[in-house]
């Protein structure tokens, strides 16, 4: 009883605190006069004609702030490795779920999967032309595998291929960065001849589509791995409970 009261008191105080903070933040942020300066983004927009991609966000992500993306890919990779480190070691039961997927589910999921993958690849490849890109496409590809797992818990992915895709694409990304260093003395320098084509064409934008494709492969495989680990984990638990 007492404890409950205390808890409630704590909650009330904290909610009051949160609201007080909210109000003062609102008060503060309302006064914000947004940038009196020309932002970096505006300059990038002007510069964007050089990189010759139709999607300015993509050029910012992969080129102007390219090292951010390397870092980001690394973070994702590290998280994947961390998840793998955590979840791979416990002895998995060899028990399989007895329940078999139905035929409709089997065929339907596979059909849908190919479409999804195709869509993901499209998003990746057109990252520099339209909204989307490596990350988005990669995640879409991973959803395809999610679908598969949902349909058939017994399924397992070929880790060899995934790892290969993951590490090779990652290494290739770094290599692209290093080639830039050797050719232009700037890491991630846009060493490919560009403009090859006009803005808005598929083959344009120098290294940007290359990078996005690499990122797409990497993110796709990494997300798939993560998805697999979590699905299997959840599944494992069910078995364990039963």
């Amino acid at each position: 009883m007492n404890l409950k009261k205390e808890l409630r008191l704590k909650h009330i105080i904290l909610s009051l605190l949160s609201s007080a903070l909210l109000l003062s933040f609102l008060g503060l942020l309302m006064q914000v006069k947004t940038n009196t300066y020309k932002t970096v983004g505006d300059i990038f927009l002007n510069l964007n004609m050089q990189t010759a991609t139709a999607n300015a966000v993509t050029s910012v992500v992969t080129f102007f702030r390219g090292i951010d993306t390397v870092g980001e890919v690394t973070v994702l990779f590290l998280a994947t490795s961390g998840v793998a480190l955590m979840l791979s070691s416990t002895q998995r039961t060899s028990k399989k779920v007895v329940k078999q997927e139905s035929f409709v589910l089997h065929v339907g999921s596979r059909l849908l999967m190919s479409v999804i993958i195709l869509f993901g690849v499209y998003i990746v490849i057109h990252g520099h032309l339209s909204p989307g890109g490596g990350f988005q496409g990669g995640v879409v590809i991973a959803t395809a595998f999610l679908l598969l797992f949902l349909a058939n818990p017994n399924m397992s992915l070929s880790h060899g291929i995934l790892t290969l895709g993951e590490s090779l694409s990652g290494s290739a990304y770094v290599l692209v960065a290093l080639i830039g260093l050797f050719k232009m003395n700037i890491l991630l320098g846009n060493f490919l001849p560009h403009p090859v084509g006009e803005i808005g064409e598929l083959v344009s934008g120098g290294i940007i589509p290359v990078i996005y494709i690499l990122v797409g492969i990497k993110v796709g495989s990494e997300m798939s791995v993560i998805v697999e680990y979590f699905i299997k984990e959840d599944y494992y638990k069910e078995v364990y409970d039963a």
């Binding site: 006064q31 590490s167 990652g170």
Partner: protein
């Protein structure tokens, strides 16, 4: 030669980790990688500073790695620590075999790469990404044991790290909203033009973010837990690399944004409280790792006090102290790794339960150095710090540091007395050739910097100058004259 290697080489190494089928090869290449980076750093020491490596386009639009005097010192510490730990790891894993050893090297190298990225990057958002890389590596490494304690520490670290990163992201967003840039140079130029209330908010958020990670007092209750839950070499890295990297960033931004005049006293008081509380708490510990964790917190407290003084001499002394503390703590934690393995306990008694003249000597040297007793390197740092405080007529700080140092001495000498106590049951510990060499090198450095401080003082002076007068850094960060 490019600063980018500091990040890209470890990245490519970690991407390729799954293909090192033989663990020996992985160990060797990890050592090689760290050696290469260390050698590159040594080459950089002979070059004129600052150095810059561009990514994509030149700053202030693009991102660049800039190496000035300040970051050079940290770079030396980090790559050196990395080298030492990578040399130590083969023994450690031979002693404590692990199936997923390969992943350790991955996180280990990325931890150092992330820390180095934080100190080199001249873009605050990029810095945040390295912050997260370091963070994720440290979460994973603290949970590396995968037992209850390890996971607990991992979860704790992750939660704390998430809070810190949310505040930092918020701050970065506010900065961008206000002045439309994330380049450190431009922010430094325009920071005073931010609406004062918002600027306070930004500073506060950055303070909470980096202060939490740098283990400042009211936000450091998690820190000892992390040390306790993780393996000893990782402890060494946390103490001598990661904490120092956050400290670097803290003061880099502190001075770059010109916050020194306004917030100096605040940071100094917070540092002092950190020092006081940690040293008192350490007195009561029976777990070795926690004990030295508190000791680390305490030393960070002194460093925060000294760094915030805005005087070249004090900051130089603080940098000296930081360096010697890094070396000492690395030595202590690596030794602890040996002892914990041999004596199968984490109680403080293990320090009295081993018999090895060599280990005793190196531990004593490092303890004395941490305490600031001549002729070891800690003394130089401490006397410079005290001298600096005295020169600014801040005698209260002098008295405070000295008084709390006595508290610190209580537990350090209790341990020394334990080691020297012949009546305790002793287990003979043979160290192994490699560890012998590593520990001897570390101890020799402590002595060397103690009796020939000019060697290091050259770099700390350089660093202090670069920190307090970042004009050169700003020129490069703004991309002028590239």
């Amino acid at each position: 030669m490019s600063l980018g290697y500091y990040f890209l080489l470890p990245v490519i190494f970690s991407f390729l980790t799954p293909y090192f089928k033989k663990i020996g090869l992985l160990r060797a290449s990890s050592i090689l990688l760290n050696l290469l980076l260390f050698l590159q750093t040594l080459v950089y020491t002979m070059m004129s500073l600052p150095q810059i490596s561009l990514f994509s386009i030149k700053p202030p639009l693009g991102i660049a790695f800039i190496l000035d005097g300040y970051s050079l010192l940290f770079l030396l510490i980090f790559t050196f620590s990395g080298l030492m730990v990578s040399l130590y790891m083969p023994w450690f894993f031979k002693a404590n075999p692990r199936r997923d050893e390969a992943r350790f090297y991955l996180f280990f190298n990325m931890l150092i790469a992330g820390s180095i990225g934080m100190i080199l990057s001249c873009d605050i958002f990029n810095l945040y990404i390295f912050f997260e890389i370091t963070g994720i590596c440290s979460y994973t490494l603290s949970a590396y044991n995968k037992d209850k304690l390890g996971l607990e520490s991992g979860i704790k670290y992750l939660i704390i790290g998430s809070i810190a990163s949310i505040f930092i992201v918020f701050a970065i967003m506010l900065i961008y909203l206000q002045i439309g840039t994330v380049n450190l140079g431009l922010i430094a130029q325009r920071f005073h033009q931010i609406d004062p209330k918002i600027s306070v908010l930004i500073v506060l958020m950055l303070f909470i973010g980096f202060g939490t990670k740098a283990e400042l007092f009211p936000m450091n209750f998690w820190a000892p837990d992390i040390y306790q839950g993780s393996i000893s070499p990782v402890n060494g890295l946390f103490s001598s690399v990661v904490a120092k990297a956050y400290l670097f960033v803290f003061f880099h931004l502190f001075y770059l944004f010109g916050l020194n005049s306004k917030y100096m006293l605040f940071v100094m008081v917070i540092g002092a409280i950190t020092f006081l509380v940690s040293e008192f708490t350490a007195l009561n510990q029976t777990n070795v790792k926690r004990l030295f964790a508190y000791s680390t917190l305490g030393q960070l407290g002194i460093l925060f006090m000294a760094f915030s003084t805005n005087s070249i001499d004090t900051v130089s002394g603080a940098l000296f102290h930081l360096t010697s503390h890094s070396i000492s703590k690395l030595l202590i934690f690596l030794t602890l790794g040996i002892l914990i393995h041999k004596l199968k306990s984490m109680k403080i008694d293990i320090l009295g339960g081993f018999k090895s003249t060599f280990l005793t000597i190196v531990l004593v040297i490092s303890f004395l150095s941490v305490l600031g007793i001549p002729p070891f390197s800690g003394f130089i740092g401490k006397i410079l710090i005290l001298k600096g405080f005295a020169l600014s007529h801040n005698y209260a700080a002098v008295a405070f540091i000295l008084l709390v140092s006595i508290v610190e001495a209580i537990y350090f000498f209790r341990i020394i007395a334990m080691m020297l106590d012949k009546s305790r049951a002793k287990v003979i510990v043979n160290v192994g050739v490699m560890n012998y060499a590593i520990l001897a090198v570390l101890a020799a450095l402590i002595v060397l910097f103690g009796i020939y401080p000019s060697l290091l003082l050259h770099y700390t002076d350089l660093a202090a100058n670069a920190l307090l007068h970042p004009t050169n850094y700003l020129t490069y960060a703004l991309g002028v004259g590239l």
